[in-house]
Assembly symmetry: C2
Homo-oligomer: 232 residues x 2
């Protein structure tokens, strides 16, 4: 009997883990589609991305439910509880990455009238691939509870911020020069802003990985301290 229950419990925990990876996978596809829709002004891809956001939301609700169930019915050990609490926080950030990616897709639809061959902004291209790599690595780090990889993701967020600053520094003078292009350029800035936020969320997920592995809350600490925590 005890073995039977513990088998069920293990199955529940592994269902939670795999649902998080599934949710992460859907968010990755959403983000890929939104990024490509933006870079190629492709309205069809944008629509496909937006439609996926519903799936992300449903997975968030499902996983939250599963976590509540486990806490209420089982008596999770300290380390299982860390997993559950990391999951509860991680899915909030994944859901918000989905939201931001949907915003980008909506902007891409507005921009879809523009010539397809024009690169909207090299900084957006760099940011889009950068945050996709961050998310990919954050999810991998989560799956393997790999603290060093998690801290590397945290460190990469600064690159995204630099591309964002470069985007603003290039587009503001461009707007001053071509006031008739302010609206589309503002749309590009919004996309940059959303990508920058996606970087923040991927960083948050990585911080939960450190908590999951070490039981240490490293949010709001300098990067050097996070590295020490991960290396200990």
């Amino acid at each position: 009997m005890r073995e039977h229950i513990s088998g069920q419990y293990d199955a529940e925990l592994s269902a939670v883990r795999s649902h998080v990876m599934e949710m992460g996978g859907v968010v990755e596809v959403l983000l890929k589609e939104a990024g490509e829709a933006l870079l190629h002004f492709d309205a069809e891809l944008a629509e496909s991305a937006i439609a996926r956001d519903h799936e992300v939301n449903q997975l968030e609700i499902l996983i939250d439910d599963e976590c509540n169930h486990i806490i209420a019915r089982r008596q999770p050990t300290a380390s299982d509880l860390r997993l559950i609490m990391s999951v509860v926080k991680t899915i909030t950030d994944l859901e918000r990455i989905g939201d931001e990616a949907s915003r980008i897709a909506k902007m891409a639809m507005q921009l879809s009238g523009m010539e397809r061959d024009r690169d909207p902004a090299p900084e957006l291209r760099a940011m889009s691939s950068g945050v996709r790599e961050m998310l990919r690595s954050a999810l991998d780090a989560f799956a393997r509870v790999d603290l060093r990889a998690a801290v590397d993701v945290i460190a990469r967020d600064k690159e995204i911020d630099r591309h964002y600053d470069a985007l603003i520094e290039r587009l503001v003078p461009a707007m001053e020069e071509r006031p008739d292009q302010i609206r589309p350029m503002l749309n590009l800035i919004w996309c940059g802003r959303s990508l920058e936020r996606i970087g923040d969320h991927a960083k948050n997920v990585s911080e939960y990985v450190v908590y999951l592995g070490k039981g240490q809350d490293v949010r709001h600490q300098p990067l050097s301290r996070k590295r020490e925590q991960a290396a200990d």
Copy 2:
């Protein structure tokens, strides 16, 4: 002995509640200072606001710890567990309101060179007072587990969005007309964006109140459905 433990447990639960209200109170002050710093281009108030963000972060970590402790050591009943899980989510949104308000304060510092008597934008004034009321009401609804009040806060988010749209619709033509003023006007748009996000976070807090009271997850549902849930 059992009574002693249950007394401690009650004390722990009420400490969590009161820390959430304390955190909410600090975020309210931060938001008030940031909003006034923006409306009066007041660098001193902006600095005071920014300094408060640290306190918000510390409270978030403390409350997360308390929640983990309760789940790990006590066996919370279903309704206590709903409280704990609502708290864990609420403090994430409160922390992010603190972040957005700090961003506004930083923008206010950049704008502090401007003439103090000029109203930067009537829409920002409306948004600033609107989101402060939303946050106030969301925290009240949380403290009293008042579902109707919570749904009213959710409904108010649309007002904030309307002011934000009006801000953009006024500032874009103004930028087209005065390209030399693009930078400061962009800063005002950033502030509008942050206020709009703060409205979203206050709405999230209110959705957790409905979950807390009803055990129903109303996120991602239309407003009419949320009203039904709250009224049942």
